[in-house]
Amino acid sequence: MRGLFILALSLLSLNTFAAGSKIDIPKYDWSWKGFFGTYDRASAQRGLKVYREVCAGCHSMDLIAYRNLADLGFSEAHIKAIAAEYLIPDGPNDEGEMFEREAIPSDRFANPYPNVQAARAANNGAYPPDLSLIVKARPKGADYLKALLLGYVEAPADKEVPEGQYYNKYMDGNLIAMPSPLSEGIVDYDDGTEATMDQMATDVTTFLAWAAEPSLEDRKRIGLKVILFLFVLLVLAYISKQQIWRDIK
């Protein structure tokens, strides 16, 4: 029944048909799927580490503030310490000069580049997209992202890969300007989890999924209550209706 309903819904959202992409994105199992799914905090915390040590060199996350990390279970002191590792531009001060200062929890994540042009210039003209909403900004969001991170394979012999481009079997057109960001053990996890490619891809995707939709858990929790409430109300309203209409006809 639920499957049927989802099918009807996706038929309704016809614009997904327009995507026209012929690449099959694998389906992964995510902790936040389903009616009661929540973000796996440990995984998201590890994902933050992957983001900070691997992605943040090129990709900004300008909608996320350090204070938001409290959602992932970081303590206030820990958040302050993380923020203090970054310098962000501020000013002008009383002398009219711009200056840099250590970030505080209310600041947004420090941007690796001062502006889009600088980001392009540093990356052969390709702009590394902001990752705040990336999971919601791509069809098949999380699945696509993880697949992409793991999708760097040897190009087929007949495919020409130009200088500054890389072959990825899940990228539209198979050519991507980002070299494979992950490699075995590139991150040293604090909790001793082994940093395999798959583990890191899962973790960073979990982190980015949270970043894109931090209200997901509230939403599902409230939704359940609302739907149950409406069902009870419907039952009562239905009995009322039967009683009111009993004498008619």
């Binding site: 819904l9 016809l14 614009n15 995507a19 909403l133 939403r219 739907i227 419907l234 309203a237």
Partner: protein, 414 residues
């Protein structure tokens, strides 16, 4: 009333109520109006659940206005700030995500309710005399709804907002001679920009309230003629009617709760399924998305637009498709209203509904090959239905004798 006693005339207007109710009512006849139109108002007792969708649509409209007001407290209509202010609503405003997702999904459900409402009008002949004006006010609201939805969709200032606005406003450049001047006037700029989003925001509000105003006219005209019903026969006695309250109110309440359960399911578990992922990317005037697709409720009309190979022709066909529907009360020559008693017309109407869904599907496909061909056939049927089938079938078909409301209810029981 006596002609030489003006006070005597006034007395006939005196309120039948006493106390505070009477005090209000003899100054502002709201109480007796509410009682006449919403409590005692006689409604055919044969109405089925198709008749609940007008009320459902009204609840959607109320919900949209309410959520719109609270979003408006936080939203900033400027090219630089719009996207971020929406994300601030989603992240930092208390329950902002709920209010925004409600607003975005209510639109879709408003359209679902309206489509069903219009289908009901076609199937049971509610557009026919004496309800032409009810129908025309309704169609006008539908046009305004599409305008409001389009304007609203530009406001989050994502990629699809920006490029959707660009493509649709460019339709106006198809107007001969003055097209470009009108486009500039509309945008307040040479392309969709800061001035555009600012005025679109104002117009989004204005049109929304214009719809509310038209609801009043829709209801006044409806209450002059009374509701149609599945038989299309007018009630012949009080026995064939029930009072609006509590009979219709409780029925509509049931339908509304059921409808809102489906809405809640989408809202809380798949809030983005009816939207497009590209709209979570900031508008970028330098990069066009691979496929520009309007929201799902525009797709049938988008298919008609693209079915015509000529730019101006496409625009005319698209707007004409709705305008032509407005002629239906006069083009349909049949004396019988309801499709229950019109075997041939019934097939035509059902085909029209299926055709609508097919066009919707085609509108989401790229404009190439077989999709264009099917869109053209669909567009042709749309106009054929109104201009040829409606007069012809009404003339040639032999309808069955419509049942009275009492007989209809008895035959349903049997």
């Amino acid at each position: 009333m006596s002609s030489n006693d003006p006070q005597g005339y006034k007395k006939t207007l005196n309120s039948p109520y006493t106390g505070f109710k009477g005090w209000i009512d003899s100054r502002l006849p709201l109480v007796r109006m509410m009682e006449a139109e919403y409590l005692k108002f006689p409604v055919p007792k044969s109405l089925n659940y198709f008749w609940s969708f007008g009320g459902i649509a009204m609840f959607c409209l109320i919900g949209l206005i309410l959520t719109g007001i609270f979003l408006g407290f936080h939203y900033k209509p400027s090219a630089d700030e719009a996207f971020d202010s929406v994300e601030r609503i989603m992240r930092d405003v208390n329950f902002g995500w709920l209010i925004r997702y409600l607003h975005a999904n209510l639109v879709s459900f408003f359209f679902i309710a309206t489509f069903i409402h219009i289908f009901r009008a076609l199937y049971f002949g509610s557009y026919k005399a004496p309800r032409e004006l009810v129908y025309l006010f309704g169609l006008t609201m539908f046009v305004l709804m599409m305008g409001t939805a389009f304007l609203g969709y530009t406001l989050p200032w994502g990629q699809m907002s920006y490029w959707g606005a660009t493509v649709i406003t460019n339709l106006f450049s198809a107007i001969p001679f003055v097209g470009d001047a009108i486009l500039k006037l509309l945008l307040g700029d040479f392309n969709v920009g800061d001035s555009t989003i600012n005025r679109f925001y104002v117009l989004h509000w204005l049109l929304a309230f214009a719809i509310v105003g038209l609801v009043v006219f829709h209801v006044i005209t409806l209450h002059m003629t009374g509701s149609n019903n599945p038989t299309g026969s007018e009630p012949q006695s009080w026995d064939e009617t029930v009072s609006f309250h509590p009979y219709v109110t409780i029925k509509d309440l049931n339908a509304t709760i059921f409808f809102f359960i489906i809405l809640a399911f989408v809202l809380f578990y798949y809030p983005n399924i009816l939207g497009h992922s590209d709209n979570y990317i900031r508008a970028n005037p330098m990069v066009t998305p691979a496929h520009i697709v309007p929201e799902w409720y525009f797709l049938p009309f988008y298919a008609i637009l693209r079915a015509i190979p000529d730019k101006l022709g496409g625009v005319l066909a698209m707007f004409g498709s709705i305008a032509a529907l407005g002629l239906l009360p006069w083009l349909d020559t049949s004396k019988v209203r309801s499709c229950l008693f019109r075997p041939v017309w019934r097939i035509c109407v059902l085909l029209f509904a299926i055709n609508f869904l097919v066009l919707m599907y085609m509108g989401g496909k790229p404009a190439e090959g077989i999709y264009v061909l099917i869109s053209r056939i669909g567009t042709a049927y749309w106009f054929l239905f109104i201009f040829v089938l409606a007069p012809l079938v009404g003339f040639l078909e032999t309808p069955r004798q419509p049942l009275s409301i009492t007989n209809y209810l008895q035959s349903k029981k049997a």
